[in-house]
């Protein structure tokens, strides 16, 4: 039996200034599945994300959303408005209020409870990413959309970030849609990879996509080996901001 269908995109096309950015892209998002969009720069990844979240509404094609679909969005670049005084707790409640317990739970999910009362403008890049990830979980979303969640974070921090995302999926039973242009770190946990280059070149499990001729044509043969790099081990753990944590044994 397939998991509950949350969103179906059918033949999505989009052009801007006479340039085709998306060309008849179709896919489905299901509960508890992680879908990763990969593709070169300018492939239309962010545009597709923006169409899914509703930021862009002038597209052609159809998007069916499950009724009352709650989306938690993690933008690529949060232009942190340094002109604004804003605590982390307040950032979490930007559009909806939450109880103190809910805030604590959300921040604990991404291990940043200690940042609750800090000013957003004083956070490091890695801290901000984790706070924003916590934020996306707050409204108990059915679908979490993450646009390049690890840009500006170093490789070990990136691995940690993907681990957190994997945990969110299992703990919250939500679908995850994420964009990555870092081929080397497409998660091993990904259920579905969409390889995008204006049109959908290929899609499927990470292993099958990595052998697909169109994928190889875009990213080169060496990319085939790199897709599962994530599945390796460290003798210590870094957190998202790159700081070494105590070794974990499990």
């Amino acid at each position: 039996m397939q998991a509950e269908l949350l969103l179906r995109a059918k033949d999505i096309s989009y052009s801007e200034g006479g340039r085709v950015i998306l060309d008849r892209v179709s896919f489905e998002l299901r509960r508890s599945q992680i879908t990763t969009i990969i593709g070169p720069n300018g492939a239309g990844k962010s545009t597709l994300m923006n169409i899914v979240t509703g930021l862009i509404d002038k597209y052609r094609g159809e998007i069916e959303r499950a009724s009352d679909l709650r989306i938690g969005y993690f933008p690529q670049k949060v232009y942190v408005n340094t002109l604004m005084p804003l605590s982390v707790a307040r950032l979490l409640q930007l559009t909806h209020s939450a109880s103190e317990t809910e805030l604590d739970h959300a921040l604990a999910r991404t291990e940043v409870g200690y940042l609750k009362h800090r000013q957003v403008r004083s956070l490091s890049e890695g801290e901000l990413k984790r706070v924003l990830l916590a934020r996306t979980t707050l409204g108990k979303p059915d679908l979490i959309v993450l646009d390049e969640p690890t840009s500006g974070v170093d490789v070990t921090g990136e691995i940690k970030m993907y681990e957190l995302i994997g945990e969110l999926r299992s703990n919250m039973h939500c679908a995850v849609l994420l964009v990555s242009h870092n081929l080397h770190l497409v998660m091993s946990k990904t259920d579905q990879v969409l390889c995008l280059n204006q049109h959908l070149c290929c899609s499927g499990l990470p292993e099958s996509v990595s052998q697909h001729p169109e994928y190889l044509a875009i990213f080169g043969p060496q990319a085939a080996d790199s897709i599962a790099v994530y599945a390796h081990h460290h003798d210590h753990v870094h957190d998202v901001s790159g700081q070494q944590e105590e070794p974990r044994h499990d």
Partner: protein
């Protein structure tokens, strides 16, 4: 009707208080959304509105309203305010409005136009009608701000997050621009077209130095605004300065004093911490 409103000082103090009170939240939102330049542009273009009002022999305020609302509407049709182009666009509108306005005013018989009052305002000569207009408009703006405050703040922090979470971003932005246009139109009489932006930006910038939440910043901006108002009106009486410019200068003085105080304070605190550290 109410006799004490006949006193020009009472009228101007009330007008000043109302203006400062509405300038605080509006100014904060504008600074957060980097729209300070928009108020400046609308202010300059308002001169064209005054000119048109006189040309068609209607109240200047109607000319101003027509011009600023038209600008806001056409800008929102063209697209986003927040791209690189918009700065040049705004500069062109601003200076064309100023130039066109000055030409129109220059063509008027000189006794009908007080250019100085248009440019720098005259809080002390505010009429009962002006005061009522300012009061009613400010009340409406307050009401709209109260209803949409959370959404406006969300929009200021991140347009993307707000949109994705169901805030009607485009509508609210248009609403925001319209509100700025209205504010500029009713503040013109008191502050003059050239000084409106200062009143919206300077107290806000001072408040930003040590606020910890958006609402706190609004409250502190209002306090600084009241301070500037009191200082401005007092010095206007004492030294016979023009009221609008006096208020702006006082606002900047408060900013400088606050900056200096904070600088000295952090120097002392740093010294103290280093001392503590070397002791341990």
């Amino acid at each position: 009707m109410i006799e004490w409103l006949d006193n020009f000082l009472v009228r101007s103090v009330i007008a000043g208080l109302v203006m400062v009170a509405i300038a605080a939240p509006m100014g904060c939102l504008m600074v957060w959304q980097r729209l300070a330049f928009l108020s400046d542009t609308l202010g300059h273009a308002a001169i064209l509105g005054v000119g048109l009002g006189l040309l068609f022999q209607v109240q200047p305020i109607f000319g101003v309203l027509a011009v600023v609302l038209l600008i806001v509407f056409s800008l929102s049709q063209v697209g986003s305010f927040n791209n690189a182009l918009s700065e040049t666009t705004l500069a062109i509108i601003s200076h064309t409005g100023l130039a066109g306005g000055i030409i129109l005013l220059g063509a008027m018989p000189s006794q009908t136009v007080d250019i100085e009052a248009i440019l720098f305002g005259d809080l002390l000569s505010i009429s009962l009608a002006d005061l009522l207009l300012l009061l009613i408009t400010s009340l409406v703006l307050f009401f709209v701000l109260l209803i949409h405050w959370r959404a406006f703040v969300a929009l200021s922090v991140s347009r993307e997050i707000a949109q994705a979470e169901g805030v009607p971003v485009r509508k609210l932005q248009f609403l925001m621009y319209t509100m700025i246009a209205l504010l500029v139109a009713v503040m013109m009489k008191a502050m003059g077209v050239l000084l409106i932006a200062a009143m919206l930006v300077i107290p806000t910038t001072t408040a930003r130095l040590f606020s910890r939440s958006p609402e706190q910043m609004v409250m502190i901006s209002a306090l600084y605004g009241f301070g500037a108002l009191a200082g401005g009106i007092t010095s206007s009486f004492r030294f016979d300065w023009q009221t609008g410019p006096a208020i702006v200068v006082c606002a900047t003085m408060l900013l400088l004093v606050t900056l200096a105080t904070m600088g000295v304070r952090s120097l002392i605190l740093d010294r103290y911490r280093i001392d503590q550290k070397s002791k341990t």
